[in-house]
């Protein structure tokens, strides 16, 4: 009975810590705005639940030894010369193995959800990176293009290429590159994927929260790598459809956020 109560208490307190402390913080990471956010956050939590206590135990051990067993130089006391303790050694071999297995299980599950590709996405957009700019091509051939040449000042977001996406729908991005490797990276999506010449990467996003997000190439791609930025405009579906209907097939818009969005 007593043991049971202890277990309940332990479980309860772990859960309390998880919901009250961990549940409210993102550990500084931007709150994800896609449906994938759930899995990423879950993994952060699982990792922290194991890593923080283990880290504290090890750190405590190190600091304890430094303080407790410290002697002044020249104080000759020869300590006991023990060298092996098989049960302890076995414990700290086997317990981490179990923890690794648990973390891997969660990771495997999360990965299958995060990397899943829908058969029938609502919108499929081709994202092309080049030195140095982006080209977003929509199903009707409409292109949104922006290059470094239009971007005069790193402090200004005015002339960045914009990727328009509907919210609450599965948007499939086909990532291609013709020159060197670039990376499609939007911090708020908690996701990135490389654009590699010769490899056609496909990723799905389902963004819940409409808004304007900034993205950036995240792989060194030459001199103006830092300036290879873009914006993602996520709009409610009706608004997106209205915007899309206004874009003539095959038209090209060069860099710039619409005045109203």
């Amino acid at each position: 009975m007593v043991r049971l109560r202890w277990q309940c208490l332990l479980c309860g307190s772990v859960r309390a810590v998880e919901t009250h402390l961990l549940g409210k913080t993102n550990f500084g990471s931007p709150g994800g705005v896609t449906t994938q956010d759930h899995y990423v956050r879950q993994l952060w939590h699982i990792t922290y639940v194991f890593a923080v206590p283990i880290g504290l135990i090890v750190l405590g051990g190190i600091v304890w030894c430094m303080i407790r067993y410290r002697v002044r130089p020249g104080h000759d006391r020869t300590p006991s010369q023990f060298q092996y303790h098989i049960p302890i050694e076995a414990t700290y071999t086997i317990v981490p193995l179990v923890i690794v297995a648990i973390v891997f299980g969660y990771m495997y599950n999360a990965e299958n959800h995060v990397d899943a590709i829908a058969k029938n996405p609502a919108v499929a957009i081709t994202v092309e990176g080049f030195q140095w700019g982006w080209r977003f091509t929509y199903p009707n051939g409409h292109e949104e293009v922006g290059t470094v040449a239009n971007e005069l000042d790193i402090n200004s977001n005015d002339n960045l290429p914009v990727l328009f996406m509907p919210a609450g729908e599965t948007v499939q991005l086909h990532l291609v590159s013709d020159d060197v490797i670039h990376t499609f990276y939007v911090p708020e999506f908690l996701f990135q994927r490389d654009l590699i010449p010769g490899i056609n990467n496909v990723v799905d996003f389902n963004v819940i929260k409409p808004g304007l997000y900034s993205g950036q190439c995240n792989n060194i791609c030459g001199v103006y790598h830092a300036y290879m930025r873009f914006l993602v405009q996520v709009m409610p579906v009706a608004e997106y459809n209205a915007w899309y209907a206004q874009q003539p097939a095959g038209s090209i818009t060069t860099a710039g956020v619409p005045a109203q969005s």
Partner: protein
């Protein structure tokens, strides 16, 4: 076993001949530096050269941090900035961290620790050093060329490295320089493996070698497996650039991803090449300063071996975001590395447990290693998971992670190693007060510099960007980080001053100033040519301790 017993007779036959070949006074000064085949001189050459590389690459890093201290800064141009971080990474990894430990300390200490008179191939050893120095100079001289040095990051992803995207001799000099250090590494590995396998003193069986030597041995095997792949990848790149090859050129059917696979097949073992010898340093220092044997000696060796084995199968965790690798396999192996690393940590604590600890500079640096490597290891667990890596890859979180591992970890251990073995190499102690001050300043500067970078990464700041938008919320953290970098620079300089000061003014050390346990403390400081007049009996992994403490013998045959 038979090998060891046979050797003394061979020596008797050859020794008089050797004496006749080397007559007259030994060369000194510059001539000695250039011509010596003595493992100690070559080891010192490596140590000094690699430390100069450390200072040079550190200077480049200060340039990087100065550029990033405020948004939209124009301290250097885009191209120069790219050169700075490329050469910072390349020199730190190929010139400093690796050679400092496996070639510098390895050369100097391994023969001493196993009771050998010299390396197995002394002239080959000399050749390795000159190849290495050549590599260092060639890659650094890229800065003197028209287009500047290489500017595509230290892992030079194709096709950015192709001639059409990165013209100019800087990139070629980078290729040649790295390849030369690669050859030097391979030769050193052959030399040290042969030395360890054939030149151990009578009684020094494999399981009586210090953990430092074991870690070096595993490192050398990793070198032998990894560096040829690197050199081959660089040769292909050279063919691409100059002989119209298309190995990595996608426009002619080449595969950029091939470069990544080849490079990281080298690159991940390389990470452990840069870590294992430093684990060895920490193990030796902690044991000596606690006046205890290494806790779980055999478990420690087992952990080293399994880290070595696992490290060959995790290269693609650098490529999670390419979408071209089998994620679960590499994630599982990457996570598994946490287990032997954890064993090492618990063994280090066990080594200190109920010891008699003197908090001197060498020990403090090694404790700094423990704490910061622990932190870098935990962020490593985060990054080993592909889903989290999708968020953090190539952001400043990664930069913070590997600086905690490589700088807060390995480089701190390396500095601890300098303070620990300096008396053996020069005969003089390093100044303790200056040393502790250096440790404190470096510790504060390092953490100020790199801790905020975790947060920068979580806020989405990509690495390798030359400047950034003021409205991203990165300004304050970058400012802190840059200030930390300057403070860390001062910390390193204090140790440099200490090195020079103590060389003339340091206390005379004597043969065994720390009450050391392993064989290098049995010879004089600095050791004479061919090292040993006489060896203590080797009945455990710490013969010098056994000789000095007959009442506290190391238990044998656990």
């Amino acid at each position: 076993m038979t090998l060891i017993q046979d050797r003394p007779e061979e020596h008797l036959v050859h020794e008089p001949v050797l004496m006749e070949i080397v007559p007259g006074p030994r060369p000194r000064g510059l001539v000695k530096y250039i011509t010596s085949t003595d493992h100690k001189q070559i080891g010192l050459n490596y140590l000094v050269t690699s430390f100069i590389g450390f200072l040079f690459a550190g200077l480049l890093a200060e340039g990087i941090r100065t550029q990033l201290i405020v948004p939209n800064n124009h301290f250097v141009t885009e191209s120069v900035y790219n050169q700075l971080f490329t050469m910072h990474g390349t020199i730190m990894l190929f010139v400093f961290l690796g050679p400092f430990a496996f070639a510098g300390l390895g050369n100097y200490l391994i023969p001493l620790m196993i009771g050998a008179p010299d390396m197995a191939f002394p002239r080959f050893n000399n050749l390795s050093y000159w190849l290495y120095l050549g590599g260092f100079l060639v890659m650094s001289c890229g800065f003197l060329t028209n287009n500047g040095a290489a500017n595509f990051g230290w892992f030079g992803y194709a096709p950015l490295t192709e001639a059409i995207h990165s013209p100019g001799p800087g990139a070629d000099m980078w290729i040649i320089g790295v390849a030369l250090t690669g050859f030097s590494g391979i030769f050193t590995a052959v030399n040290i493996i042969t030395t360890i396998f054939t030149l151990r003193a009578p009684g020094m069986v494999m399981f009586r070698m210090p953990v430092f030597v074991w870690n070096q041995l595993v490192t050398m095997f990793l070198l032998l497996l990894a560096f040829p792949v690197l050199t081959a990848a660089f040769a292909l790149l050279w063919i691409d650039r100059h002989l119209d090859g298309h190995f990595y050129d996608p426009t002619h059917g080449g595969q950029p991803i091939l470069w990544q696979n080849l490079f990281w097949f080298f690159g991940h073992p390389e990470v452990y090449i840069l870590a294992l010898p430093y684990f060895g340093i920490v193990t030796e220092v902690l044991a000596t300063m606690s006046k205890k044997p290494v806790f779980g000696y055999k478990g420690m060796i087992g952990a080293t071996l399994s880290i070595g084995a696992l490290s060959m199968g995790v290269w693609a965790h650098h490529m999670y975001t390419t979408g071209a690798v089998l994620l679960p396999f590499f994630a599982a192996l990457s996570l598994l590395i946490a287990v032997p690393t954890g064993i090492k940590f618990f063994n280090w604590i066990g080594t200190m447990w109920r010891g008699t600890i003197t908090l001197n500079t060498a020990f403090l640096f090694c404790c700094g290693f423990l704490v910061m490597f622990l932190f870098g290891g935990i962020t490593g667990i985060i990054l080993a998971q592909p889903v989290l890596d999708f968020q953090l890859h190539n952001t400043y979180f990664i930069v913070a992670h590997f600086h905690y591992v490589m700088f807060g970890g390995s480089a701190f251990a390396g500095l601890g190693g300098i303070y620990y073995w300096y008396p053996k190499m020069t005969g003089r102690m390093m100044d303790e007060r200056l040393g502790k001050l250096s440790f404190l300043v470096l510790l504060i500067g390092f953490n100020l510099c790199f801790f905020p970078q975790h947060d920068l990464g979580l806020r989405g700041m990509p690495r390798r960007i030359e400047t950034y938008n003021a409205g991203m919320g990165w300004n304050f953290l970058n400012m802190i980080s840059s200030i930390g970098a300057y403070i860390a620079g001062i910390g390193v300089l204090l140790t440099v001053i200490n090195l020079f000061y103590s060389y003339r003014r340091g206390q005379i050390a004597g043969d065994n100033p720390w009450d050391g346990q392993t064989l290098e403390w049995a010879c004089s400081s600095p050791p004479p040519d061919h090292n040993f007049e006489a060896l203590p009996p080797i009945r455990s992994e710490r013969p010098v301790w056994d000789a000095n403490h007959p009442d506290q013998l190391t238990k044998v045959g656990h």
